[in-house]
């Protein structure tokens, strides 16, 4: 059940998505704007034409935009939708919001991170002062009729008096998040199922620990004895993980520290096509539907671009990469 060996958990992206994710689920996306987006799983979700997903994230970029653009998302709780200079505001996200195609609710990055943290610790809520008197606090995004159903809390947040203060002292209570599924991309998974993420972890660990199911894609599988020789470096114990997909470059076109940089040429390509429905559909056809697995996707990206973004061993990114 919480087996130590990876064998039962190693599977294809197709199997992982069909086994652990279903229509209407609340899905948490790992990574942050241009780094470690679980792109392979995002593309697989689109291929399986899963609909009505309820996405929860702090700041997200490429995977989020693709999922929204492909019509997989009905609800979104978010702090930030952008892909750095390649899309200061995520293009399909912006369009979906302005066209009323998705229901959404805004929080801040700290607020969302605190909600994941509360969920990961089994606490009902977290208290913060961040956001007092702002519209993040004053305006709810989801319709009242949906409050208290499925994964939508009965209120967006609450404000109470701090019982430990001598004088008037208001704090915001943020409801915990416990998504149905988290998808994250890691550099390493051990043959025992232990996950090791290098570089910034963003809120990936809180998201994974808060979720009922976790799907991990990774660059490399390492022997058990190696990954356990220095457990201080590890990120998640095996028993949190339901599925492991060994798929190098599966965060492409976003970056994976120590393995590859973000791919400016692909992100520019996306930037050019995403704004128009027809060209975006073509992109989906060409880069998602017509490339059924990671191998064919990488063939399409091509060796030249993969080599160009390869990370410098010492710096962890592609030194001198043309990013203009």
């Amino acid at each position: 059940m919480f087996g130590d060996a990876i064998d039962m958990k190693l599977m294809s992206a197709e199997e992982a998505v069909s086994r652990f994710l279903k229509e209407g689920d609340q899905l948490s996306l790992g990574g942050f704007t241009v780094s470690r987006n679980p792109m392979l799983i995002a593309r697989e979700i689109i291929r399986q034409r899963l609909k009505n997903l309820h996405i929860v994230c702090h700041s997200h970029g490429q995977a989020l935009d693709l999922l929204i653009g492909a019509g997989c998302v009905s609800h979104l709780e978010i702090a930030y939708g952008g892909t750095g200079r390649f899309a200061p505001t995520c293009i399909r996200f912006r369009k979906a919001v302005c066209d009323g195609l998705i229901k959404f609710e805004d929080y801040s990055n700290y607020q969302m991170s605190l909600r994941f943290l509360a969920g990961s610790m089994g606490l009902p809520f977290m208290a913060t002062k961040s956001g007092l008197e702002t519209d993040l606090v004053k305006l709810e995004g989801f319709p009242v009729s949906e409050r208290g159903h499925a994964k939508i809390p009965n209120k967006k947040l609450d404000i109470i008096q701090n019982p430990f203060a001598e004088t008037d002292d208001r704090v915001i209570l943020l409801p915990a998040l416990n998504p149905d599924v988290s998808i994250i991309h890691a550099q390493y998974v051990g043959t025992d199922g232990t996950v090791r993420i290098k570089g910034l972890t963003f809120a990936d660990l809180e998201q994974a620990k808060a979720s009922r199911h976790v799907i991990v894609t990774c660059e490399q599988i390492l022997p058990r004895h190696f990954i356990r020789q220095d457990p201080d470096q590890n990120s998640l114990p095996p028993f949190f993980i339901d599925a492991v997909i060994h798929a190098p470059y599966s965060a492409h076109p976003t970056a994976c520290h120590y393995f590859y940089d973000y791919d400016p040429s692909h992100l520019r390509l996306y930037q050019n096509v995403a704004g128009n429905d027809a060209t975006f559909e073509n992109y989906l056809q060409e880069w998602v539907y017509d490339v059924p697995d990671q191998a064919s996707y990488l063939e399409k990206v091509g060796v030249k671009d993969l080599l160009r973004i390869r990370a410098d061993e010492c710096l962890g990114y592609a030194k001198g990469l043309d990013r203009r």
Partner: protein, 253 residues
């Protein structure tokens, strides 16, 4: 006299506001430049960190996003959002955040969410990200804006990040223990906030800009009676900025 761009003037003006030892919550773009200018010129003990969890990176190359792998390289610590925002709000430290926005009001409240009705806006921006948190928790905030009437507005369409709220003591009464905007740095001028009313006033205009130019581009009444002229960037400042900080001209273009 050396030529310089508005962007260079903005970065250098903001950089000058940093004290040595400050802990700087930086975004990308001009805020990256400002933080690095300060650190390389007069505030060598300041520390630049990112909400994503990268603390004090080497920054041999400029990051283009706060999750750029360049913010993870040569840091003293790679962590995540929870730790970063905890540092931001830690009362032990003087933390200064750089923020931009789509709209600002006279009290330095910011909108980076949307225009029009929140539920069905006619323009949507990325959202708060960490901006609301920085505006809530940092010791001080320096705001970068393009100086346009449609951005300096009487009333925000959406209040994403708290400034001085409705002025006077309202920020404190709302429950914030510290912080508030320190200055607004635009492509024309530097604004500060009155110590009592917390209303924005014109502090300095850039060489070649008049107070009237600023009034023309500001959508609310702004006191210009205290304004003087800003010092142009020195050759030294420009040289550091151009040769050490952004030699690839990724942001300076």
């Amino acid at each position: 006299m050396t030529e310089y761009t508005k962007l260079e003037m903005m970065a250098i003006s903001a950089g000058r506001m940093i004290a040595d030892g400050d802990i700087l919550f930086a975004g990308t773009g001009v805020s990256m430049l400002a933080a690095t200018v300060a650190k390389r010129i007069h505030a060598p003990n300041s520390v630049v960190f990112f909400e994503t969890g990268g603390i004090d990176p080497e920054l041999e190359e400029l990051p283009l996003a706060v999750a750029d792998p360049r913010v993870m390289s040569g840091t003293c610590l790679n962590t995540g959002l929870i730790d970063s925002f905890s540092i931001l709000g830690n009362p032990r430290f003087r933390t200064i955040a750089f923020l931009g926005a789509a709209q600002i009001d006279r009290f330095g409240n910011l909108n980076s969410t949307s225009l029009g009705d929140y539920h069905k806006p006619y323009a949507r921006f990325p959202g708060s990200g960490g901006a609301c948190d920085a505006a809530s928790l940092a010791s001080g905030v320096i705001i970068f804006m393009q100086h346009e009437k449609r951005r300096f507005v009487e009333k925000l369409d959406y209040l994403t990040s708290p400034g001085w709220l409705s002025g006077h003591n309202s920020r404190n009464e709302a429950g914030f223990k510290r912080g508030g905007p320190v200055a607004v740095v635009t492509n024309m001028a530097i604004m500060q906030f009155d110590s009592v009313t917390k209303e924005m006033f014109l502090d300095k205009t850039y060489p070649g800009v008049t107070p009237q130019n600023v009034l023309d581009q500001t959508g609310f009444h702004i006191d210009v009676s205290r304004s003087s002229q800003a010092e142009a960037p020195t050759g030294h400042e420009l040289s550091i900025l151009r040769t050490q900080i952004d030699p690839q001209r990724l942001i300076l273009t």
